[in-house]
Symmetry: C2
Subunit: 215 residues, 2 copies
């Protein structure tokens, strides 16, 4: 079927160009040229450039969310009613991202950037409010709360956000300047996961922060 051939070719090329040049700096003409298809063909299949962006993001995010959900299912089943291990929950949440990062390489970088940019754009694409994604988020937050009952729900949510921020830090690969004495050696995926899990586990297990307003 030529149909899906053209569609996936457009998505693949667009994703690559977005990652290289940036989303707005990439025109649909560049995309169709490198993909070897006609400009009207893109509109025929997707309807608009925005729809292409949307599809690129969801295509990557969907399997991540499914993996996250599946992992949490397994963990909950294994722990049989009792709150599961914190580390297991953190790994379940983080590994799908890092794994995708490993498979898709720098393309993931643009996904994260796209999400930031998309949030920027008057929220025309409400990907971040995607119900499937939010359902998974809420499940994880609930589980974390059950593991850490002494923390207020607000504090659990903050720590959850810090976790996402840390993951972004990994995937965006904030650059250090070439002349900086501090560099990350080339580490394998497992090492990076260990780094972040160690850091986050300690962070989540920290005692409740003092509240300035009460007393």
């Amino acid at each position: 079927m030529k149909n899906s051939d053209t569609k996936t070719k457009i998505l693949d090329v667009a994703e690559k160009l977005f990652a290289e040049t940036g989303i707005h700096a990439t025109s649909i003409r560049q995309i169709v040229k490198e993909a070897g298809v006609n400009v009207a063909s893109l509109h025929y299949h997707f309807g608009s450039k925005e729809a292409v962006i949307h599809e690129i993001i969801t295509r990557r995010l969907r399997p991540i969310n499914e993996a996250k959900e599946k992992h949490l299912d397994e963990i909950e089943e294994a722990s049989a009613g009792k709150p599961p291990e914190l580390e297991a929950v953190l790994r379940a949440f983080i590994e799908p991202h890092i794994h995708m990062h490993k498979v898709a390489g720098d393309k993931v970088k643009i996904i994260m950037k796209l999400m930031v940019q998309v949030e920027d754009e008057a929220e025309k694409l409400k990907l971040l409010h995607d119900p499937a994604m939010m359902t998974v988020f809420n499940r994880y937050i609930s589980t974390l709360q059950s593991i850490l009952p002494h923390l207020s729900s607000s504090e659990v949510l903050w720590r959850f956000k810090f976790m996402i921020g840390s993951m972004h830090a990994i995937m965006l690969q904030h650059p250090m300047p070439p002349d900086s004495p501090f560099k990350n050696e080339k580490e394998n995926t497992e090492d990076i996961i260990n780094h972040v899990i160690t850091f986050l586990k300690a962070g989540f297990l920290a005692p409740a922060s003092t509240n300035s307003s009460v007393e």
Copy 2:
């Protein structure tokens, strides 16, 4: 002096519009219209739209970096040769950001987004490699390493990056959907700082993560 009047007016309006509509979705015609100045006046003062973006970012980032540097100077002086307290170092790094967040409000949001977007754009603006900023970064990393000598320099750098990611999480204010049962109550600045400091302190104090490569 009219000069600085027009310049700052352009910067103020541009910053506001970028924050509302996004950087690429905002044209210089919108900017000059709302600022009440002529389109050529913008080019006269700044030379290009890119230069405006650059100036908006540096204008906000400069005082933050200066505060960070000043705080670290004070801490080092007070500790007199010995490694300073971890919490003091973390507060010195984070408070200037949060404080600016308090003063500039949602405008800060766009600064963070701008930095992500700018990094996107073929790195024409190399703000993230700004020497002043990197010097401060390196000083903080060195100080953290001296406090945590048992950690490899690579692990210190990772935790430093996780800290930046957590700060981004605060400033970008990752939205939760309106119907989510999990929300952050309206908390004051001090509470948020306490949340993140508690989290980060525990994370930095975590033992070294196990390395998968050496046995």
